[in-house]
Symmetry: C3
Subunit: 354 residues, 3 copies
């Protein structure tokens, strides 16, 4: 049903996006059109990636998911970087982290918990991810902010580049650990998923999936470039700050399709998968998308240091500590979900008023 | 024995309070009289609440405990708000959190641990509470402080009101979770207590308990109003800052009776109950008393934003992380208690010198 | 083999240190000579302490290890204090904490993990230590920094002295807990070590060990005093800040011998011992060496408050949260090690650029 909605959205939205941008329709209306079109296109990218990852087998499939999983977010951010909107890029990275950890995981726990009294997921995986979350955000994001206070801009950029390289290496090492050296070493770790996967038949064949993936990616790129140029007008019209647009709007648009599937999985009691989507996506943003954007920014006029605002940083740190405390026992219920959602709303109000 | 002491204290203290305030006796002496009288009256309120909660059955009883448990603290704070002493109110909330988490829990672990090598309590409950502590303090208290730096006063107040409403809703949801939807779902969670409870006979009948509760509450209100007006003179006389009076003095006076019963429970090896008093009371302060005071302050001349000082906030955050690390394994000993007490003394010295 | 290298280093390094300092050789060359000589002498002190602790039995032996374990660090710091280099002392304390928690533990997990898929160690001990780490750094180190912002220098020093006394008392209490009241109370806690220990025969007899310990300590003191006076020239020559010399150089020189033995233990799958060296040494630095230096500084011209820079403090806090998350499950692998090492490198780059 969601899939049909996405087809309709793309069939209507994509032509409208092209026509609207050519004839300079109202930017506020076009903002809505662009957003909906991207949400639907992201759904196609997700399904194509899923199909390909089944066809390719668990290793290359895992690698594909790990690189294409946040393709939409990456594309929007690249066009924002090109337009010099560094503040929006950092804000949308923050928003993705908060959105995945608090909103998606929270909604999954809550909706799943309304149906089942207790839902459980693998604690080894939860702890492995908890360590990585702390590394990525509490070390790799916090250190440059704190150190940059007494550093000049060039040293801050050098530090940002160094940290970005280390993050990407560690992200690659995490894939080697999970898919190669320690596959199946920890009890249940990915066991059930793996078995599910191997039985699964891909939705689309290899050729069709590649074509859809390529076409949807190009379409997202086209629409994203137009979307980025509406931010200024939209912000002025609704009184939204750059920060709010990045943290809430861009983050939701870039991840909506993924969010939907996490909640559906939770409702089917496949908590393992729901948590993997939420936390895995957060790690991908923090350890792959963010550092790649820092390195890519070197090729644009304004280079982007890995320095978040204090409000963004504290929000991410607190979200991670909260998520770890709630998920580390491998057990969830509706109240756990409500706590995460409440934290998301508190931060949302904060960013709106900022 | 403690009960007899409290009766004597009330019989002597209450008339003295009335006479002293009418004849304007030395404020320093009256400060001591007011404090001791409130401690004793708080003991009566505690016993009346306990009796009523047994009579009313676990659900309404739990609700009663959750709302009247910190009645004294709430009353003193309302009179402080009325007198415009916002700094003291926030400081006394901080002091209650630190006092319950570090001093009461610490003393319980230490005293209990001198008698028993190892004492244990339910880890499910400990983890559930740990998540709530992180939510209440690391999210709901930290966010307004951090965001308020770049906000005007009105937006800070709007954010504070929003967070207060969310805190109260979540506190109500936590009661529903514990008393309705998930009662007995987690192993041992409240099991032993519940059984103890059902066997228990209330100390006082329903009528007597209601009368004592009403009378003691009115008396506390009367004495508290007078107490608040001595703060200024007492601070000047002893060189105590508003912060120190709030964090240490008001917090101890408001909670002394409750503290005593936690330590007694620990000594009887009922660690479950001792931890429940300490952590439950902290949660009540953070998720119910604090937001209610923010909302009530709107009816007074000076409204109170939910913005603690940086020193107060860091102290609470560190206290919570320490308490979580020490309690999350569901096992305590004398050394765990000593660590918590040492942290309390360090913070106490800090607030004294500030 | 390492032992032979250390003998050669001492035989060549010690005379060179004396001659070089007398004839005022190039300070940069002498800096290298002093460093290598101290590393080798530290090896002898370590072996002498080990031999003595076996001869003396577990209680007095444990006490010896707990006081002499960081003798070299303490001696270098005392001479730095004497020279008024307070910044370097605080930086080297930070460096020891980071070096032990991230570099030593990281390298142990990584090297051990290359040989064994999974290595495990006692979770009771890990949790006990985690509580102490949070107490020592998140409470005892964070509080004076945060509170000192609104305090005058004298009050800051009073607070530092108070905290130092509390830290030393708690460190002594931790030894009583571990060696007296709760020896063997927790499953496996020290069991295997203890048995290993009792079977062990000391490398050196009592008399020989005492003589070597005394001689090596005096030699370290002599070389350290000279080393401290080269910092200024070395910093200028290589463009290293006081902070970098303290955090990276002094910390590595003071702990190199100990570091080597931790990694060797990990390679032999004695993870328990490797973790004990890394975390035990951190606790000793934070709860014994640091407060002792604060108190000793009162006898020198410049007294040292327990106030780290914000960058040092955040680095230590983040290192501790990361280490706790990774070690609290009592299980390690090569990837856990890599994460810790990556955090160390990120902080290293930061301190280098600062």
């Amino acid at each position: 049903m969601v899939n049909k909605l996405f087809i309709i959205l793309v069939i209507i939205g994509l032509p409208l996006s092209i026509i609207g941008s050519l004839f300079h329709w109202s930017e506020v209306i076009m903002f809505v059109v662009y957003c909906l079109t991207i949400v639907a296109l992201a759904g196609f990218i997700g399904r194509a990636t899923d199909s390909l990852s089944i066809v390719m087998g668990p290793r290359i499939g895992g690698l594909m998911n790990a690189t294409f999983g946040n393709a939409v977010e990456l594309i929007i951010s690249i066009f924002s970087l090109k337009a010099g909107l560094i503040g929006i890029v950092l804000a949308s990275l923050t928003g993705s982290v908060l959105g995945n950890l608090l909103f998606v995981a929270g909604l999954s726990f809550f909706i799943g918990g309304l149906k089942y009294k207790r839902q459980s997921f693998d604690i080894y995986n939860a702890r492995h991810n908890a360590g990585l979350l702390i590394f990525a955000v509490l070390v790799a994001f916090v250190i440059p902010e704190v150190f940059s206070h007494t550093m000049n801009d060039q040293d801050t950029m050098t530090l940002s580049i160094g940290i970005s390289v280390i993050l990407i290496i560690l992200y690659a090492a995490a894939l080697v650990f999970k898919l190669v050296t320690h596959r199946g070493v920890y009890p249940n770790s990915g066991e059930t998923e793996q078995t599910d996967r191997e039985e699964e038949t891909p939705e689309w064949g290899k050729g069709k999936a590649v074509i859809i993936l390529a076409a949807a990616t190009i379409a997202v790129a086209y629409v994203s470039e137009n979307l980025v140029h509406t931010f200024h007008t939209v912000g002025d019209t609704f009184g939204w700050s750059e920060l709010f647009i990045g943290v809430i709007i861009v983050a939701i648009v870039g991840n909506a399709a993924e969010h939907a599937s996490a909640v559906i999985m939770a409702y089917k009691n496949k908590m393992e998968v729901a948590v993997e989507i939420a936390v895995g996506s957060t790690l991908q943003i923090a350890m792959f998308v963010a550092p790649v954007l820092v390195l890519l920014s070197l090729f644009f006029t304004t280079s982007m240091p890995l320095v978040f605002t204090w409000a963004e940083l504290i929000s991410m740190v607190m979200a991670i500590l909260l998520m770890i405390m709630i998920s580390v026992d491998g057990d969830s219920n509706w109240f756990d979900g409500l706590v995460l959602l409440a934290a998301y709303f508190i931060m949302g109000i904060g960013f709106y008023l900022l």
